[in-house]
């Protein structure tokens, strides 16, 4: 599990890898925090839950990271402990795939300091790929 910053002219980009999808999501959140220079306070831990339904894992990843941006901007919160569950594709009564479901329990605290905010998570060339070690993706963030 890890990430590396990828050079991008206008914005920020990170290649993230992990052994399974939940870890990939959690590591992507960690990458986002570190790229933004987020320092999370140590007091008054808070918990939040988040659920999303999307057509595929990439859309869930964008929804999850966008949720973190919302908390950062609105409540000055950042999260560093995640319990994630990515469920298999859900079928409707008509047997049409509605995609996958993501459930997240997360724990964090008030942001003590931040260098620069990430404003959005993009779909640019976003693809979660299976590797011999698990999963890998490269995310471009709008800053």
């Amino acid at each position: 599990m890890g990430f590396e910053e990828i050079s991008h002219t206008a914005d920020w980009s990170a290649r993230v890898w992990a052994e399974d999808l939940p870890s990939l999501f959690a590591e992507s959140a960690r990458a986002m925090n570190l790229l933004a220079g987020t320092v999370i306070g140590r007091r008054s831990r808070v918990k939040r839950m988040f659920e999303s339904l999307g057509p595929d894992a990439e859309s869930l990843l964008v929804a999850f990271l966008s949720e973190l941006i919302f908390y950062q901007e609105q409540e000055n919160l950042a999260f560093n402990v995640f319990e994630l569950e990515v469920e298999e594709p859900v079928l409707t009564g008509e047997a049409v795939s509605k995609g996958q479901k993501l459930k997240v329990k997360m724990e964090g605290a008030q942001i003590a300091s931040i260098d620069k905010a990430i404003k959005a998570v993009t779909y640019h060339n976003l693809k979660i790929e299976r590797t011999n070690q698990g999963f890998e993706t490269t995310i471009v963030f709008d800053v």
């Binding site: 910053e5 050079s7 991008h8 002219t9 206008a10 914005d11 920020w12 220079g37 999307g54 057509p55 990439e58 859309s59 964008v62 929804a63 966008s66 919302f70 901007e73 609105q74 931040i114 260098d115 620069k116 905010a117 404003k119 959005a120 998570v121 993009t122 779909y123 640019h124 060339n125 976003l126 471009v140 709008d142 800053v143």
Partner: protein, 482 residues
């Protein structure tokens, strides 16, 4: 891609023909010198321009400006026109910061006589124009009031005493796009916007005090009220979190729309929907609402900048006032009529990091600008020159009435942070007589002048190409950044 794949048309114009890739619907037309092209050949701008040519319903060429650089989905500096109403609209081809743009205010305050006041002016601008990572703007609006902002833009500001009729007359679309519908803006987007009206934000947004350094077109400068040696103010920002959320919401929603309409694209960030589809209509009206938010936002920042000028200069000079030269968007989708292959065609012009540059006589310009063309404001990189240009007849026929929007990045943010120390940069700028107020030193380092192309070269290119004409060059004396 390499330069050999391109067809050179002139010193400043190149084409990527449709033979380069099988899925291209139209060619790409680039305005750039060889030197500027060589600066971006190793990033993904040209590949992204080729990807943009796959959007259904395109007419003419996809145009790329000399300040082009790699973005996501669509290149920065890109212009694409799709036939109205059956062609598509793509949120990613407009960008997250909907109606990011620049407002230029000008004064008749002589810089030499005001030099001693620059420190206090920078401090007051920093005090009254909230900036940086965070959410609070100059004012807070409730839900109902926000709906009015989204519907009316600068007209809302006028009604509430933050604007004058003269400000609106010199704003693109009078600062208020018709067809905005706040019901198509999500509650989450509204939550992000509610407390951000009148705030600058962070990133590459700034307020800059400049001096008119050189005048190239006396007549146009006089009409705009730009006087040699006098102070001006540029305000560069957009629709803040609200616009970002609108784009996020619709890029997410359009992931399904492209499947529904059978649209195949090389990059998911380019997702789109036909303009006459329910999804396209919803995005168009939400995008217009976000654009109105941005117009109101820059109007409030102008109000705050005037307050700082009044407090600094009112007791020292009789005429301390800041009049508006123009306010122009560089991330927007607009329904316009353009000449394509000799026919007048109604299109949606997507401009992402490209400025509308309407020529003389174009509709929608205030009477005084009908003769000279629309002012085009080109902010430079921090510490370097900025430019005021005007649109031309040529821009109307060759670039869908568009020109460049800035210097354009050439160095990655991570490299800039490694190579430049924010504190050192600040000292260097101060030593050159530029007052700096910055919320974040790493953020300042990312915006170092060395991370950008030479803005003079970019402007020279659009000028030589004939898609804009020079009016005045500005040089910075104070910069306020988040």
């Amino acid at each position: 891609m390499n330069i050999e794949n391109l067809v050179q048309i002139s010193e400043t114009e190149w084409e990527i023909p449709t033979t380069i890739r099988h899925d291209m619907r139209v060619p790409v037309r680039l305005f750039a010198t060889r030197e500027l092209l060589e600066q971006v050949i190793n990033d993904k701008s040209l590949d992204q321009a080729v990807n943009a040519t796959t959007l259904p319903g395109l007419v003419g060429h996809v145009i790329v400006m000399p300040d082009m650089h790699q973005g996501y989905g669509f290149p920065i500096g890109g212009v694409a026109a799709t036939e109205f109403p059956h062609g598509v609209i793509s949120p990613g081809a407009i960008g997250y910061d909907i109606n990011c743009g620049v407002r230029l205010l000008a004064s008749s305050i002589d810089f030499e006589s005001a030099r001693g006041e620059m420190d206090i002016l920078a401090t007051l601008l920093n005090k009254y124009c909230p900036s940086g990572v965070g959410k609070e703007g100059a004012i807070k609006v409730n839900g109902k009031e926000l709906d009015h902002v989204l519907r009316d833009g600068s007209r809302w500001a006028l009604k509430n005493g933050y604007a004058s009729e003269a400000d609106l007359a010199r704003t693109e679309e009078m600062g208020s796009l018709e067809g905005a519908n706040s019901e198509q803006v999500s509650e989450r987007a509204k939550t992000r916007g509610r407390e951000q009206v009148g705030s600058l934000g962070a990133g590459n947004h700034f307020i800059e005090v400049d001096v008119v350094d050189q005048i190239f077109n006396e007549e146009a400068a006089n009409i705009m009220g730009l006087y040699q040696g006098c102070l001006t103010v540029q305000i560069h920002c957009g629709s803040r979190g609200l616009g970002h959320q609108v784009c996020t919401d619709y890029v997410q929603e359009f992931q399904s729309a492209v499947r529904k309409y059978g649209i195949d694209l090389p990059d998911r960030e380019l997702v789109c929907a036909p303009m006459d589809s329910p999804e396209g209509i919803a995005y168009m009206s939400a995008m217009r609402a976000a654009a109105n938010f941005a117009f109101a936002n820059r109007q409030l920042l102008a109000y705050s900048a005037r307050r700082a000028f009044e407090e600094t200069f009112a007791t020292k000079t009789r005429n301390w006032h800041l009049h508006q030269v123009y306010d122009i968007a560089h991330n927007m989708g607009k329904i316009e009529t353009h000449s394509v292959d000799g026919k007048q065609v109604k299109v949606c012009v997507h401009r992402k990091g490209a400025t509308r540059a309407f020529g003389p006589g174009s509709p929608g310009l205030p009477p005084e600008y009908k003769k000279i063309g629309q002012p085009v404001i080109i902010p430079g990189s921090m510490g370097t020159a900025s430019w005021v240009l005007v649109g031309t007849e040529d821009s109307m026929t060759r670039s869908f009435g568009s020109s460049c929007h800035g210097a354009g990045r050439v160095m990655s943010r991570s490299k800039a942070k490694k190579e430049v120390q924010g504190d050192t940069l600040r000292q260097e700028l101060e030593a050159r007589g530029i007052k700096v107020r910055a919320g974040s030193m790493p953020g300042l380092a990312e915006e170092a002048p060395s991370a950008y192309k030479d803005v003079d070269m970019v402007v020279e290119t659009v000028s030589q190409a004939g898609i804009a004409k020079k009016v005045a060059r500005l040089k910075p004396v104070a910069v306020i950044k988040g």
